[in-house]
């Protein structure tokens, strides 16, 4: 599908008129959604175009739409010459697409001419020509000044008229004549076994050939369109899926024109506070695409519903595409966790769309979703789950579908959340390879089994353009809602649920024991300290006592000395001591001896 995207991007670049001078073939816009982009503006103006395909692939419808849109949108009157369906049948068939053929005929914008030839009633003898057809066509064209002509299954003539040689010559003349008339003609033809058309009409109509195809894969049919040939112009050569909806044909990959969406840096919350915290504190970017994968029963729908719920509470509109549960079931289930969606539905903030994936093919689903989104214009779109939708097509198709859906949503700045169911035991990352690269953010919900229980955990695997947590969080669902808690990560691994609780209890006990031990040691130490202090007090008092004693001794010694001196002096005086006199005499003698 990538190639289609590129092809389309190329076509889109071709569309602007600036680069095309008079050398470019003039185009006749079909007005068919997507076809003009593929062909670079429409069918070659003034030339015949062949639309071929097997029965039931939409040839008549496509050619009729070309005519009706020409008459209504581009002011080109047209002639529809039908060889298979009567006017009544055609009118009824086109009415189902909302085209009012009767009114257009009444207003002179379209002329319908049913050519009835009954092979069983016709005999041929000798040469003939198709002048009757020319006259009728010429008259029809001239009567309203038609610019467009559709010949629906001209090949019916081969079945009705004999002498193929004459017929071929006449058809060649017819195409020449149409060119000379300057009308843009569309000729439809049945697909042949080996050639494009059963009777080799592509030989004569060599300007533009479009091949329609209706393929069935896995019991689901998808229509494809391919421009086989477009003389004198580049064109998308890929096969493009197309579908026939209520409002005509749309050739699809027109939304995948390029990667140039407007980008918002606004962030929107998920409705789960802790999840916002994991995403840099502010949630996802507006207009981003979010993938939510998980095994069965991990709570994907709950997260998705919470996201939509949060958007509605902000006053935004949310669209919930559910491919597994009915809206009422979702509303009831969310009620059980305290999320009330019904009032939001009543206030037209939330809209559900439920359908079985096998209801129709991928393309039809896509078209329906586009239509619903265009009608409701939501800010947030939930697809729950995208995987069951993808099962409706091949890998290639489904990736293309998701690409186009994301492109479409991003183009409208719609934030999208896709849940994806992974089978238990699958390598999670691997099974989502196809989708994950298209997504801006990827949340993974997982169940961890252990201790006889399963616990939900959530990771943020990727979140483009924002710092995000690499941590595992335990995902809790209770009747109060959802919450994320830190899972225990430690030497014994990641613990969740009761194991986490047990570990927490163990930790509390250990903490308590530690506290008690500390208290005991504290008590002991303080007791020891008290003892020491008492010891210190004893010693100090002892010290003081000895101090006092010492001072007393000192005092005693001083008194005794004084008493002794006094006694000695007294004694000397009593003994009439001359010691002092003798000493003074000796001093005087030595002084005399020194003097000359």
């Amino acid at each position: 599908m990538q190639t289609i995207t590129q092809g389309c991007a190329r076509m889109k670049r071709r569309v602007p008129k600036r680069t095309y001078s008079s050398t470019r073939l003039p185009r006749c816009p079909t007005g068919i959604q997507g076809l003009d982009e593929i062909t670079g503006g429409g069918l070659p103006r003034g030339r015949p175009t062949l639309i071929c395909g097997s029965a039931g692939c939409g040839k008549t419808l496509m050619s009729a739409e070309f005519l009706v849109r020409g008459a209504t949108q581009f002011g080109d009157p047209g002639v529809l010459m039908s060889f298979e369906e009567t006017e009544g049948e055609l009118t009824a068939n086109l009415a189902s697409l909302g085209f009012d053929l009767k009114r257009l005929i009444r207003e002179g914008k379209i002329v319908l001419d049913y050519v009835h030839i009954e092979p069983s009633e016709i005999q041929a003898s000798g040469e003939y020509d198709l002048e009757g057809l020319f006259v009728r066509l010429g008259h029809a064209i001239d009567s309203i000044g038609a610019k467009r002509v559709v010949l629906d299954t001209l090949e019916a003539l081969f079945a009705c008229l004999p002498n193929e040689g004459i017929l071929r010559a006449e058809l060649r003349r017819l195409f020449r004549w149409l060119k000379d008339k300057g009308v843009t003609a569309v000729i439809t033809a049945e697909r042949g076994r080996e050639s494009l058309t059963r009777h080799g009409l592509e030989e004569y109509v060599s300007d533009c050939v479009i091949l329609l195809d209706h393929r069935i894969y896995d019991q689901i049919a998808t229509r494809h369109l391919r421009v086989v040939k477009y003389r004198g112009a580049l064109h998308g050569t890929n096969e493009f899926p197309f579908l026939i909806g209520d409002d005509g044909i749309s050739v699809l990959p027109i939304t995948s024109l390029g990667l140039n969406h407007r980008i918002s840096s606004e962030r929107i919350g998920t409705g789960i506070g802790r999840l916002d915290a994991m995403l840099g504190g502010r949630g996802f970017f507006r207009g981003s695409s979010i993938l939510l994968t998980g095994t069965p029963g991990t709570g994907k729908t709950i997260v998705a519903a919470k996201f939509a719920h949060a958007a509605c509470l902000r006053g935004e509109r949310s669209m919930f595409f559910s491919f597994e549960e009915s809206p009422n079931q979702i509303i009831r289930n969310m009620q059980s966790i305290g999320m009330h969606l019904e009032p939001l539905v009543k206030r037209h903030l939330l809209r559900f769309y439920s359908a079985r994936p096998s209801l129709y093919g991928l393309e039809m689903h896509l078209a329906t979703m586009f239509r619903e989104i265009a009608a409701f214009r939501p800010e947030v779109v939930i697809v729950d789950p995208i995987t069951s939708l993808m099962d409706a097509g091949t890998d290639f198709e489904s990736k293309g579908m998701v690409t186009r859906l994301i492109d479409f949503l991003k183009g409208g700045q719609i934030t999208s959340l896709f849940t994806s169911l992974t089978q238990g035991g699958h390598a999670l990352q691997q099974s989502e390879m196809a989708m994950s690269s298209l997504m801006d953010s990827w949340l993974l919900l997982q169940e961890i089994e252990g201790n006889g229980e399963r616990n939900r955990v959530l990771y943020v695997l990727k979140a483009r353009g924002m710092a995000h947590s690499n941590q595992i969080r335990e995902f809790l669902i209770s009747n109060k809602g959802i919450d994320l808690v830190d899972a225990y990560i430690g030497p014994s691994g990641v613990l969740t649920g009761s194991a986490r609780m047990a570990q927490a209890a163990r930790e509390t006990a250990a903490e308590l024991a530690r506290q008690q031990e500390a208290a005991r040691r504290q008590r002991e130490l303080s007791r020891k300290r008290g003892a020491l202090e008492m010891q210190i007090a004893g010693l100090r008092s002892e010290h003081e006592a000895s101090d006092i004693e010492l001072r007393q001794i000192d005092r005693q010694v001083g008194t005794q000395t004084r008493l002794l001196d006094a006694e000695r002096t007294e004694l000397g005086r009593l003994r009439q001591s001359d010691g002092s006199l003798a000493a003074s005499r000796a001093v005087r003698k030595s002084l005399k001896a020194r003097a000359p």
Binding site: V115, H116, Q123, A124, S125, G126, Y128, L157
Partner: protein, 109 residues
């Protein structure tokens, strides 16, 4: 402009007077094919009719609406309008046997 060329030789004496064969010959202009078809048809009628016959030549180039109304596609084309049912033969009617079978005249002879 309806160019009517009627040919009704001796209004049959045999009791089947009611049976008048009516043919519409649709041509586009006075081409060699148109003329040949008329001549051939006329000679076949002359040779095989028991009762009366009438050939109406209609030039669709002049009356395109008739071409649509009468579902003319290939020209020249002759339609047996009477007696019913309608029978159609296209071409220059160069093979009388095929024309007799195609217009179911053979049974009347």
């Amino acid at each position: 402009m309806k160019v009517v060329k009627s040919s009704s030789p001796c209004p049959a004496a045999s009791g089947k007077s009611a049976k008048v064969w009516r043919f519409h010959l649709y041509v586009s202009g006075r081409t060699s094919k148109s003329l040949a078809a008329y001549a051939n048809l006329k000679s076949i009628c002359e040779r095989s009719m028991l009762g009366g016959y009438r050939i109406t030549v209609i030039d669709i180039a002049e009356r395109p609406k008739v071409a649509k109304a009468d579902q003319v596609c290939a020209t020249p084309m002759v339609i047996r309008r009477n007696p019913r049912p309608i029978r159609t033969v296209i071409g220059t009617l160069s093979d009388p046997d095929l024309v007799l079978v195609g217009l179911d005249i053979a049974s009347a002879i």
